[in-house]
């Protein structure tokens, strides 16, 4: 556990240099630059959002085409109801709004699901202080071919704030 994001980062890079794999990092706020060090890949949520938005667009246009032109065309203020193209100007706003709606919500839901952060989920951070001002680096023996003592030694070299060892059963 560290008490500053910069020390955390230096420590992490030091350890990684030693070929030690950091399992997880818990921090109260996004520590910029930690991801590449501990090898967290860039998320693809952005692409997902785009997909959702496109679905929204299609749905909106399809729907309005069906409601206004195919299912029951009406003469409303003499405006044309013959083809989607002719009516399109009036359909732009709703199309846009609906795309945004789908994009935003789709992404938000995916985000929560992928995180596994959902209502009623138990907190899984090893130490309550990690949501305040402490930074925790989780390193396991399984992932590294090193014994606990070797690891401890390596870790001790860094500007450590506190170290706690648990053994997983």
């Amino acid at each position: 556990m560290y008490d500053d994001d910069d020390t955390l980062k230096t420590a992490a890079s030091a350890l990684v240099a030693k070929g030690i794999r950091v399992k997880e990092v818990y921090s109260p706020f996004p520590v910029h630059g930690i991801d590449p060090i501990i090898g967290v890949k860039r998320t693809r949520l952005g692409i997902a959002a785009f997909m959702y938005a496109m679905t929204g667009t299609t749905l909106a246009l399809l729907g309005m085409w069906y409601f206004m032109i195919s299912d029951w065309p009406m003469n409303i203020g003499g405006k044309p109801s013959f083809s989607l193209i002719e009516n399109l100007p009036a359909f732009i706003p709703v199309t846009f709004e609906f795309s945004v709606l789908c994009g935003a919500h789709g992404m938000a839901i995916t985000y929560l699901l992928r995180n596994g952060t959902l209502p009623g989920m138990p907190a899984s951070n090893p130490d309550p202080r990690t949501t305040d001002d402490k930074f925790v680096m989780e390193i396991t023996t399984e992932q590294n071919g090193l014994s606990a003592d070797e690891l401890e030694a390596a870790i001790k070299e860094t500007e450590l704030f506190e170290l706690s060892t648990k053994d997983y059963k």
């Binding site: 009406m74 003469n75 409303i76 203020g77 003499g78 405006k79 044309p80 109801s81 002719e86």
Partner: protein, 1056 residues
């Protein structure tokens, strides 16, 4: 092999236990009756704990609530055996005749499932056109205030009792008098003769001087019949012949016959009047004169035309106007016509002299056998004095209400109260009936048989269209019974026309059936006698008129088109129909010139929260406080007040709508706890100085009181702010010059064009000439409307629209338009589908502003003020059924859409009430249901839908709209549908004229016509292609299906 199967009701039976044996064969095993159970003392020992109690309560409450959720059960009684002439859903029409002592019209009564719901003119065989009052009179049939049976001393009684009581006094000694309005029924007159009663007639509005002058000058006691359809020049001196004067139901149509620019026929009307009247607002030239000057106008005319007599002194512009009028009269010669409204012998004599001098007598005015207005106020006065003196033993009163409208009402009432034997046959316990000992209510005209003779050649029939709702009896039949002649009215009436009539001929007489079908019996005419003018007393009349003096303020009493003489005070539909000129509903008031209003420091603008100022008007001894309406065209130094208001001043039960309603449906009450009537009664102020009742006072005083009183106007803006694309008008000369012009080219009706950036004019340069009509601009390629199926449309001719408002009432009765009461109208929440916009001309215009260097802002301000004696435009306005309707596009739920027959249709039950459509309507014709009018307490006193009886008048073909939905003119879609249905049944295309909207049907001057614009042969199409036709607000490009026809005034171009 026998079937050995056995079925057991249970194991007990199988085992045949004792218990089973005992109950075997009993329907209910526990043989204990309810009484036994209740009397069982073991009950005493049981008790219901608090918790149980609460449980029961809870259950009960829930159960009750659930039960309450059910929709109310509406009982309907099926036709077990269907009357042959009644088919549910199909309307029947019966020819009948309306006569109330003033208006006389042949009508067709529309009934549905046996209920009269609509009255329209009988144009095929009939005389006259219904006006707003006649139209709405169908409501009074269902008035819950009508007497449901005879009464003695105010106590309900029965006819046998009443007959015995009255016949006794009739047998007795002493003078027995029958007081009625003018009786036109031969049978009734016959019964009166037989009853041996002394018959005295008087009319609520006295026209005695007309008959008297005819007697004096032509030797015939007849009311003049004016042939306006012949008159090329009409000069009216205070005769409101398009509004309420005399036989108005016929004048309008005849006048319009001479206002046909296409035919090159255009009469010219000069009006000399005190109040702004309908006639004045439709006249080509209008001059403001005081009541006392009207006579001198007549004498001046006479002097101009024949040199007879001498002109009294007149104001310069009046003199100028008289000269102009005289010039036109001379040109017209025998085709000229002069009318005067004042019921003053001298005046009428001078007018007769003028008409005689013109040679108009026998050409535009006839003195034949017109039987209207035989009443004499003199004999009523005599009767009153006799009654006081106790010289009258029995007084029977029929078809009139002297205690309210007699000139000397208070004296009469006093005398009447003192009398022992007084009988009133009024339908209501009205002012007169309330103080008569015996009430023998007569039928409503829709319930009774009658025969009426207005002119020599025909006897018009009144036939019942519904069996009497209450235990009432035609008054003439009562007379028969009381004079010991036990014959029912129908038989009596038949035998009047066929002495050999017997009841076997009741249905078989073909002639009679035909007569009933057509609504009249023809009788052979005696040639109308040629009358010759004697002219005795003209000179004396002239000097009398010239000598007439007027005080500082003079007063002219008038009748409103809506209220008439007050018979209709309890008619909510008429109360809410705005006065055509002031646009005020639910009140009478003092009309005063703007100059006087400012001089007295009174409120010159009546708005929603800007109430009218009260003034104290004093005539002779008596004075009243009335609100002031600043009236353009009111002669300075004069005031006008409408008759026919203030009914039920002592709280007589004449119908709820006659009284002022408070915020929560309670009646406003005055100090002595009586409900406050709508408006105030000014009949006592009629002028009694002469032999005849005249409706002008030459010297009254008006003083401001500082009080205020709200008036409910449907239109608060007076002018049209120079917006020529709404109202187009021109003068006859300019019209005639360009009458052949192609549509849209004539200078007085140019198509509105927009400049475009291409060389349209083909002059090689792109300049202001390069413009295209609005129709050329379209954002999208539109739904086709031309030549596709039907395209219902309407044309409205502003030249012949007089603003009489018959269309308004017709529309509202046909379409169940809710009545919302004074307070809501004041808040600009009238629900009128059909309104008549009244625009006064203003002296000011932007052009004049530029010349005078006034700022645009200031000019617009000035343009809001009408001129002192303005030209007026009456413009009927209803949904324009635009093909590019702005209201349709904005509705989120598609509740208003365009039918493929060109209708802008409103789907009430889809509407969610956002009011966006109303905001976006350029014509502001959409109306929103702000409250639940058929149910909310505020409207309980006047909304027909809230009265269990008056609800009967609602048109079953039209839904009563619920709270929170938008409504508007549907172009009477229910009539269109039934018309199409008939055509379908007949297997023909819809013939032109077979479908007609309520407004078009009611229009007395045929200004409105309706039909299928896609039907090449349709009249409406021809009119819409006429070069006078235009679209209101054409430049918005909403493409209405309603066309207006440019108003043509027959004035000199420079004055146009």
């Amino acid at each position: 092999m026998a079937n050995t199967k056995r079925y057991w009701s249970g194991l007990d039976e199988l085992r045949e236990t004792e218990a089973f044996k005992t109950i075997q064969g009993k329907e209910f095993p526990e043989a204990q009756s309810v009484d036994e159970f209740l009397t069982d003392e073991r009950l005493e020992s049981t008790h219901t704990g608090r918790r149980d109690f609460l449980k029961f309560m809870g259950f009960g409450l829930t159960a009750a609530t659930l039960a309450a959720c059910e929709t109310p059960v509406i009982k309907s009684i099926p036709y077990t055996n269907k009357p042959e002439e009644v088919t549910p859903g199909v309307a029947n029409h019966y020819a009948s005749t309306y006569y109330d002592g003033h208006d006389f019209v042949n009508v067709l009564v529309k009934t549905r499932e046996g209920r009269p719901i609509f009255v329209k003119s009988n144009t095929e065989t009939g005389y006259g056109r219904v006006n707003a009052r006649v139209n709405a009179s169908v409501l009074s049939l269902y008035d819950e205030a009508r007497l449901d049976g005879p009464r003695i001393g105010g106590e309900p009684s029965d006819w046998a009792k009443v007959d015995s009581v009255v016949s006794n006094v009739m047998q007795g000694e002493g003078r027995k008098v029958l007081l009625t309005n003018t009786v036109l029924s031969p049978s009734a007159l016959r019964s009166i003769k037989q009853s041996g009663l002394e018959h005295i007639q008087y009319d609520a509005i006295d026209y005695g001087a007309f008959r008297a002058s005819a007697e004096a000058d032509f030797g015939v006691n007849s009311f003049p019949s004016y042939r306006l359809e012949e008159a090329e020049t009409v000069v009216t001196i205070g005769a409101d012949f398009l509004g309420s004067f005399a036989d108005n139901v016929i004048y309008g149509e005849r006048w319009a016959a001479m206002r046909k620019p296409e035919a090159g026929k255009m009469s010219r009307v000069h009006a000399f009047e005190t109040n702004m009247s309908l006639t004045g607002s439709n006249a080509d030239y209008r001059t403001m004169v005081k009541p006392s000057e009207q006579g001198r106008v007549a004498t001046a005319l006479l002097a101009q035309l024949s040199g007879q007599g001498s002109a009294g002194q007149l104001s310069d512009e009046a003199t100028k106007a008289v000269v102009a009028a005289a010039k036109d009269l001379k040109r017209a010669g025998s085709k000229g016509l002069v009318m005067a409204g004042s019921n003053d012998l001298a005046m009428q004599q001078v007018v007769n002299a003028i008409n005689a001098a013109l040679g108009a007598v026998g050409s535009t005015v006839f003195y034949d056998t017109m039987t209207l207005f035989q009443g004499s106020s003199a004999s009523l006065k005599q009767l009153t004095t006799d009654m006081k003196a106790g010289a009258v033993e029995v007084l029977v009163i029929a078809d009139c209400n002297p205690v309210y409208d007699a000139p000397n009402a208070s004296a009469f009432a006093e005398a009447l109260e003192a009398m022992k034997h007084t009988v009133c046959t009024s339908m209501f316990a009205d002012e007169t009936a309330a103080i008569c000992k015996v009430n023998a209510p007569t039928h409503h005209w829709l319930e009774s048989w009658n025969d009426l003779q207005i002119e020599g050649d025909r006897i018009d029939l009144v036939q019942p269209t519904i069996s009497p709702l209450h235990s009432t009896r035609m008054w003439a039949e009562s007379l028969l019974r009381w004079s010991g002649k036990n014959q029912d009215w129908y038989t009596y009436l038949r035998s009047t026309h066929a002495s050999d009539y017997t009841s076997d001929a009741m249905y078989t007489n073909a002639d009679w059936n035909k007569a009933v079908h057509n609504g009249f019996i023809g009788v052979e005419v005696e040639p109308s006698q040629q009358v010759s003018f004697t002219g005795v007393g003209t000179a004396q009349a002239v000097s009398e008129l010239n000598g007439r003096k007027g005080g500082a303020v003079e007063m002219a009493l008038y009748q409103k088109t809506t209220m008439g003489a007050g018979q209709h005070a309890a008619n909510p539909m008429l109360q809410e129909t705005p006065d055509p000129l002031t646009k005020v509903t639910w009140d009478n008031y003092v009309t005063m010139a703007h100059s006087d209003v400012d001089a007295m420091g009174l409120n010159g603008f009546i708005g929603q929260e800007k109430p009218a100022s009260l003034v104290k008007v004093t005539v002779g001894g008596s004075s009243m406080e009335l609100p002031v309406f600043p009236m353009p065209g009111q002669t300075p130094g004069t005031i006008g007040i409408a008759l026919g208001y203030g009914r039920g001043a002592n709280g007589e039960n004449i119908g709820k709508a006659a009284f002022q309603t408070g915020e929560n449906g309670s009646f406003e009450t005055n100090t002595d706890g009586n409900p406050v009537p709508v408006g105030q009664n000014v009949f006592p102020w009629a002028n009694e100085s002469g032999t005849f009742t005249d409706y002008a006072q030459y010297d009254v005083t008006v003083e401001a009181t500082g009080g205020t009183y709200p008036l409910a106007c449907t239109q608060i803006q007076n002018t049209f702010m120079g917006r020529e694309s709404i109202v187009k008008e021109t003068d006859f000369t300019s019209y005639f010059a360009e009458r052949g012009a192609e549509k849209g080219k004539a200078s007085w009706n140019e198509l509105i064009t927009l400049a475009v950036h291409e060389d349209v004019s083909g002059d090689g340069t792109i300049d202001a000439q390069d413009a295209k009509p609005t129709s050329a601009f379209d954002l999208w390629h539109e739904h086709p409307v031309e030549e596709v199926g039907h395209r219902w449309g309407m044309t409205i001719d502003l030249t012949t629209c007089t603003g009489c408002s018959a269309c308004v009432t017709a529309c509202h009765i046909e379409n169940n338009v809710p009545v919302v009461g004074k307070d809501e109208v004041r808040r600009h929440r009238d629900m009128h589908w059909m309104r008549i916009d009244r625009f006064f001309a203003s002296d000011y215009s932007l052009e004049r502003g530029e010349e005078e260097g006034t700022s645009v802002i200031a000019s617009y301000r000035k343009m809001e003020d009408p001129s002192a004696n303005p030209q007026t435009v009456h413009m009927p306005m209803m949904c324009q059924h635009c093909n590019h309707a702005p209201c349709e596009t904005v509705c989120p739920v598609a509740a208003t859409t365009h039918s493929n027959e060109g209708l802008n249709q409103m789907t009430y039950n889809r509407c969610i009430g956002t009011r966006y459509c109303a905001n976006n309507c350029p014509y502001k014709v959409r109306r929103f249901n702000w409250f639940n009018y058929p149910g909310y307490k505020k409207f309980a006193n006047f909304n027909p839908a809230q009265d269990s009886l008056m609800r009967m008048v609602l048109n079953p073909d039209v839904t009563v709209r619920s709270r929170g939905v938008m409504e508007k003119c549907s172009m009477c879609v229910q009539r269109i549908q039934s018309g199409k249905l008939d055509a379908k049944k007949a297997g023909t295309p819809v013939p032109d004229g077979s479908v007609v909207t309520a407004c078009a049907e009611a229009c007395p001057t045929h200004a409105i016509s309706f039909g299928d614009l896609n039907d090449k042969s349709a009249g409406v199409r021809a009119i819409s292609e006429n070069n006078r036709a235009y679209h209101a607000l054409e430049e918005i490009g909403v493409k209405p299906n309603i066309f207006y026809m440019t108003k043509v005034r027959n004035v000199e171009p420079n004055k146009a």
